[in-house]
């Protein structure tokens, strides 16, 4: 069935027809390009500001910088060294990586169990996990704070926040991955079973290699979610030297309230890794979102 994606004109258009089409399409073009520009402008503004010296920022609008070239990287070096953003960047990495790998691993194992192993209450349990997906993190802030303290001051380090993020990422992981695993060819798995392979080796040798796109989708989704998180980091990271960038930026906001030179550089630093991840792995990110929301 031909869909809009594959719509192909059957005969070439004459010049008049093409002109007509372009003219009627012009509002579309104007609308799209106009909106795209509007969408880009805020980020662009911040970006340009981050390269301007402090006095310039106070004196003229950032759009002037596009014509009067006077760019500096001083803001970035200030913010990385004296405002501690460089350190905070490392903290963000240190928080995000385990908080992505853990739910991915545990989630994949569980998803496999739900998809390809039969055991009692399997579907009920899975429904329960689906239900857990929407629980807001506000319900766990206080109890986890206490729990981490009683279990040996897990708030002093990163273990606490790793566990918290893992717990909140698991329902989505299990849901996404299980929905993907059930689309794997049944014969492949049955054949392996007949050959006497254990579930674990089926998981390792068949399911995982075939599921790289789905695993990547969840991983990127979770990575961005944890990297960009503010509230959990505010609550579960007590040690100021372990603060990630999101929290560190809010401190800049209160201290240097109107010093847009520093704030903009910091904001851009915060954005650069997610943007890189996003642009290079856009496909997987979108897949992850779609799989979780639209019936595949």
């Amino acid at each position: 069935m031909a869909t809009l994606e594959h719509a192909v004109p059957f005969k070439p258009l004459t010049v008049t027809e093409r002109l007509l089409r372009f003219v009627t399409r012009t509002p579309v073009h104007i609308g799209l390009i106009g909106i795209s520009i509007v969408w880009l402008v805020p980020t662009l503004g911040l970006g340009v500001t981050s390269f301007r010296p402090r006095d310039d920022i106070a004196a003229s609008g950032w759009w002037h910088a596009l014509t009067h070239w006077n760019w500096t990287t001083k803001n970035y070096s200030s913010v990385i060294h004296s405002a501690g953003m460089g350190h905070a960047f490392l903290n963000s990495v240190y928080i995000t990586v385990p908080a992505t790998v853990l739910p991915l691993t545990l989630g994949a194992l569980a998803a496999f169990g739900f998809a390809w192993i039969r055991f009692p209450f399997r579907d009920t349990l899975f429904l329960a996990i689906v239900a857990l997906m929407v629980i807001p993190i506000q319900t766990s802030l206080v109890p986890l704070l206490r729990l981490f303290k009683d279990w040996g001051h897990l708030n002093n380090g990163f273990v606490g926040i790793w566990l918290a993020h893992t717990a909140f990422g698991l329902p989505l992981a299990v849901f996404l991955l299980r929905n993907f695993f059930i689309t794997l060819p049944k014969d492949l798995i049955e054949a392996a079973r007949m050959d006497g392979a254990s579930n674990l080796s089926i998981f390792r040798r068949i399911v995982v290699p075939l599921s790289v796109p789905a695993l990547a989708s969840f991983a990127i989704f979770q990575f961005l979610w944890v990297w960009n998180d503010l509230l959990m980091a505010l609550i579960f990271i007590s040690d100021p030297s372990k603060r990630p960038m999101t929290v560190q930026i809010t401190y800049l906001l209160s201290t240097y309230g109107q010093e847009y030179n520093l704030l903009s550089a910091a904001a851009f630093l915060l954005m650069c890794l997610p943007l890189v991840v996003f642009f290079s792995l856009q496909r997987y990110f979108v897949q992850g979102l779609l799989a979780g929301s639209v019936k595949s």
Binding site: M1, A2, T3, L4, E5, A7, R25, V28, L32, I35, S36, W39, V41, P42, T43, G61, W62, W63, L106, L109, A110, F112, G113, I117, R118, F119, D123, L125, I129, A131, L132, M133, I135, P136, T139, S140, L141, V142, P143, L144, L145, L147, A164, L170, P171, K186, M194, L224, W227, N228, I249, Y260, A267, M271, V277, F278, V286, L290, S293, V294
Partner: protein, 324 residues
């Protein structure tokens, strides 16, 4: 180690009756091993805390957030009737954090859908669709904190920094710059729009994928019948997209209930308490005023608000369940 399986018959095997013991021996234990770690983590770090919070909502809670001072339903009563920053029905229009979330529900969802759907429909017709999609989608990848900073900058009342004011001033020189996040009449809408900017990309991408799945014959046929673009949009596309639109709306709704970062960064609930939302109230009451039980009551309210979505998700999943 599992026993060798029984030989499979040539015919399609019957689905085993649900819940009874025709499972392969040992398979149940295997299943358990695979799901146990996830269940344990979920049980300890997600389910138990939720229970703790629900219970705490019925107490006052001390500064270490223990169960001290049983209050029954008092926290809830106070929240809904005696806290003007949360819900103030004494004057019209009503105000308070709960009302603000309601505003968010309406405007945030409507605007995101409108922009997302509109852009998806338009972009499908041009060759640079991918580029537009990327541009609109990029804000989704950045932190709400960064979104807040970007828009603080846009809304700045200082003509040299705030591009919104500068643009309006450029068009109408008599215009006095407005502090968009400084006045209660505009602050909520300013915040909402910033978040719409960040979320439209998601709507656009999902709906764009869905639009591409619409069969062209139907569209072409109606064009031949003389239907205008708008009619095609309204009568054919939208109904066919109703499921993805519903899914997206649910996602947007969850976002609204949870929204916190952007308010924390941009206004701190201000000016006054005019831009407060539920999640911010929870934070303030629990961590600033130290009222653990009261904050827990707010969290319970959030839970109640997402309950319909939870039920919806479970139902939807049930209807598309696949057994292997």
């Amino acid at each position: 180690m599992s026993q060798p399986p029984l030989p499979t018959p040539v015919l399609e095997p019957q689905e085993p009756p649900r819940g009874l013991g025709t499972f392969r021996a040992g398979e149940r234990l295997q299943g358990l091993f695979f799901i146990a770690p996830a269940l344990v983590v979920l049980g300890i770090f997600l389910v138990y805390p939720a229970y703790y919070t629900v219970r705490l909502a019925f107490y006052q809670g001390d500064f270490l957030y223990r169960f001290s001072n049983f209050l029954g339903l008092d926290n809830f009563k106070e929240l809904l009737t005696d806290d003007p920053s949360f819900l103030d029905l004494s004057s019209f229009p009503p105000s308070g954090a709960l009302v603000n979330n309601f505003r968010w529900v309406i405007f945030y969802i409507a605007l995101s859908l409108a922009f997302g759907l509109g852009l998806a429909v338009l972009a499908v017709r041009v060759r640079y669709e991918r580029v537009v999609k990327s541009i609109i989608f990029v804000p989704m990848a950045i932190s709400a904190t960064a979104v807040g900073l970007i828009w603080l900058f846009v809304y700045s009342p200082d003509l040299d920094n705030g591009i919104l004011n500068a643009v309006i001033h450029g068009v109408d020189h008599g215009f006095d710059p407005i502090a968009w996040v400084g006045r209660p009449s505009t602050v909520n809408y300013a915040l909402i729009f910033a978040y719409v900017w960040a979320s439209t990309g998601f709507v656009m991408v999902v709906l764009s994928a869905a639009i591409k799945g619409i069969p062209t014959e139907i569209i072409e046929a109606s064009r031949v019948d003389g239907a205008g673009e708008w009619a095609i949009f309204r009568r054919i596309m939208v109904p066919m997209l109703s499921l993805p639109i519903a899914v997206v709306t649910v996602w947007l709704f969850i976002n609204v209930i949870k929204v916190f970062d952007i308010i924390y960064v941009m206004t701190g609930g201000g000016p006054g308490t005019s831009s407060r939302v539920i999640a911010y109230t929870m934070y303030k009451e629990t961590f600033e005023n130290g009222r653990g039980g009261y904050g827990a009551a707010v969290a319970v309210l959030m839970l109640l608000l997402v309950l319909p979505v939870m039920v919806l998700n479970v139902r939807r999943f049930r209807s598309e369940r696949v057994t292997t």
